[in-house]
Amino acid sequence: MRGSFKKFGGALFGAALAIGQMPITPAIAADKLKVGFVYVGPVADFGYSYQHDLSRKALQEALPGQVETTFLENVPEADSERSIEKLARSGAGLIFTTSFGFMEPTLKVAKKFPKVKFEHATGYKRSDNVSTYSARFYEGRYVCGKIAGKLSKSGTVGYIASFPIPEVVSGINAFMLGAQSVNPNIKIKVVWVNTWFDPGKEAEAAKALLAQGADILTQHTDSAAPLQEAEKQGKLAFGQSSDQYRFAPKAQLTSITDDWNGYVISEAKAVLDGTWKSHDTWGGIKDGMVVLAPFTNMPDDVKAMAEETKKAIADGKLHPFQGPVYKQDGSIAVKEGENASDPMILGMNWYVKGIDDKLTQ
């Protein structure tokens, strides 16, 4: 309470002083690193922004007394430049902008505030004070694909996809390659919902896919609606972003969960130590950034296979895009004995052979 009174006094004093003057930073303890987070969605209690907020809380717990965290939720991408600048101006020394659409605004604000460090999730442009980070979601999707290949009775999997950007396309491909490794005849039907989070649209897509004969659903969107739809119809599904087991205890096989805690904490430490440098991080199962929720609703042999696959990927013995990988038109994309390079995965705009959908080019 004392702190807030002090702040109030500071604010009043500042307000009185600053009218018509240069911007002032509100009074905050100078020794603490203020860390700001910008979320595209609501913090809510599951999903992408929620996972990021968990890392904010983890940071607060890991470095008590050294950091002070704050966040802005539901920030529209078209309106994000001001929100990011507001955080920079309110004295934040490290700012996480957690959605792809914040890329250009982050770079613009970063240019104005060279001393503030920025961390942009899922983008590809960096600068001296802007790092990028993302997770190798495709590793988790390969494991899911393998499970689906084993468990699908109809041989058709429904895929609810958000936007045709490389991250999503490489996820579909990895899923397909995993599924094909155990069932070469597996089919994937894709529905693009053009949203990261819209329970209504996602549920509609789920219904359509189930009606078309899919008996397993997977999603690259955030809500629990597809899982709930699968649960209702006695089918199986994979969750996304958070463990969504409680929404569909009879349907969820596993969930691809993002865990940013380790990364966020190490970046904050680097800023505190003065060792922070702009860099790109792309972590996978090995780094603990991609976590698969407990395998449920499957026989023990499938569970064992999934655990094994996960371990093989973590150990570097298995690469989801291990050659030979063929494109839809039959041409070879990755030669026998090679693995897809990171740039290839990061720019993936083609489907692997066997996917029943067409990408707009």
Partner: protein, 363 residues
């Protein structure tokens, strides 16, 4: 028991002026209770919401940047709403304006020798596209009697999906890793900043100009009189020889044009490229602004500033006081409800009639 609203015979101009101010005070008091219930000092919250944003050059500019599109769109909408025409689709007209103007910017990317023409052509293209898009519901209404409320609203989604398609397909940056966005505009295709090193751009002046122009048109021209007359008394307007159809088309074209201009001003101003989302809902918020400003351009300007102020103050409250964003939205809704309510009280006596059902009994 029932409530009757009896029109006041004498409208007190003092009450008219005071009612929005009283509504604001009431909203602040209710908001203060909500803030206190969340465990934050209401005084501190008030300072964060309403004083802090006014205390920095930077946030003053941000308020202006946020208020400008709202004021511009709402000023256009005032023409429609005054004439009892319900254009709910300003959001779509905004998007189409941004798309059309932005397309000019993309098509001329890297072109040399015609730099000074690019920006004016973009602004004109945006305005025309917005106006043309608004004319669709207007023509449907005039020709076929289709409700403009539904058509204008539904065309919003059409516009958003069109923009979405364009930035993923034909207008996508070829060097952008398939990400849904266009190339960044050349400097010649950007609205110039008003001051070096600051964020304020020319879009703010455009909005101010529109407010002044609309004030003059509405109060001093025959067309303005026609708009007001059709709204107040369509029968009288018809006797006076004014054409409903022509006015419908004109009002929609004006509001669509204003929204389209706001759209391209946002794209060429702040954003600097086309992307799937170019509006945080300006077209819808502008409807609130229009009514908060009681359909008069100067009032709209004030209302746009108040809404911009609460949005920016709300961000500060999220950061400094950890108050949720929902509180800001609830407050904006509360403010609109109270202003409209206070307006009713300023215009009518509320009379409580004891006993019996309403005189307009339901069969």
């Amino acid at each position: 028991m029932r409530l009757d609203l009896v029109p006041r015979t004498r409208r007190s101009s003092l009450l008219n002026l005071l009612s929005p101010a009283l509504a604001f005070v009431a909203a602040v008091l209710i908001g203060g209770i909500a803030v206190a219930a969340l465990g934050v000092s209401p005084v501190q919250a008030f300072v964060t919401y309403f004083v802090m944003p006014l205390s920095e050059i930077w946030s003053l500019q941000e308020i202006a940047l946020k208020a400008a599109p709202l004021a511009l769109i709402a000023t256009g909408l005032a023409f429609c709403y005054r004439a009892n025409l319900w254009n709910i689709g300003a959001e779509g007209q905004f998007v189409v304006g941004g798309l059309a103007g932005g397309w000019v910017g993309i098509a001329t990317h890297g072109a040399e020798g015609m730099a000074i023409w690019i920006l004016p052509v973009m602004l004109i293209a945006g305005t025309m596209a917005g106006a043309a898009y608004a004319l669709i519901p207007a023509v449907l209404k005039v020709r076929l009697g289709v409700s403009e409320i539904l058509t204008s609203l539904m065309l919003v989604y059409v516009a958003q999906l069109l923009l979405d398609y364009m930035v993923r397909g034909p207008l996508r940056d070829p060097a952008g890793f398939n990400f849904p966005q266009s190339v960044g505009f050349d400097p010649a295709a950007r609205l110039p900043y008003l001051m070096e090193g600051e964020t304020l751009h020319m879009g703010v002046l455009i909005a101010l100009l529109a407010v002044v122009l609309a004030t003059i048109v509405l109060s001093r021209t025959l067309f303005g009189f026609e708009v007001r007359l059709v709204g107040a008394s369509p029968r009288a307007a018809r006797f006076a020889g004014f054409s409903d159809a022509r006015l419908t088309l004109a009002a929609f074209a004006i509001s669509g044009g204003a929204a389209g201009l706001a759209g391209i001003a946002e794209v060429a101003g702040r954003i600097g490229q086309l992307q799937p989302e170019i509006s945080p809902g300006y077209g819808f918020t502008a409807i609130i602004v229009t009514f908060l400003g009681r359909l008069s351009p100067p009032g709209i300007l004030l209302a746009a500033i108040v809404i911009a102020l609460t949005t920016i103050g709300g961000e500060g409250a999220q950061i400094d006081l950890r108050l949720p964003l929902d509180l800001t939205r609830a407050f904006q809704g509360l403010l609109l409800g109270l202003v409209l309510g206070a307006d009713v009280i300023a215009r009518y006596h509320v009379r409580i009639v004891p006993g019996g059902p309403s005189s307009r009994a339901v069969p």
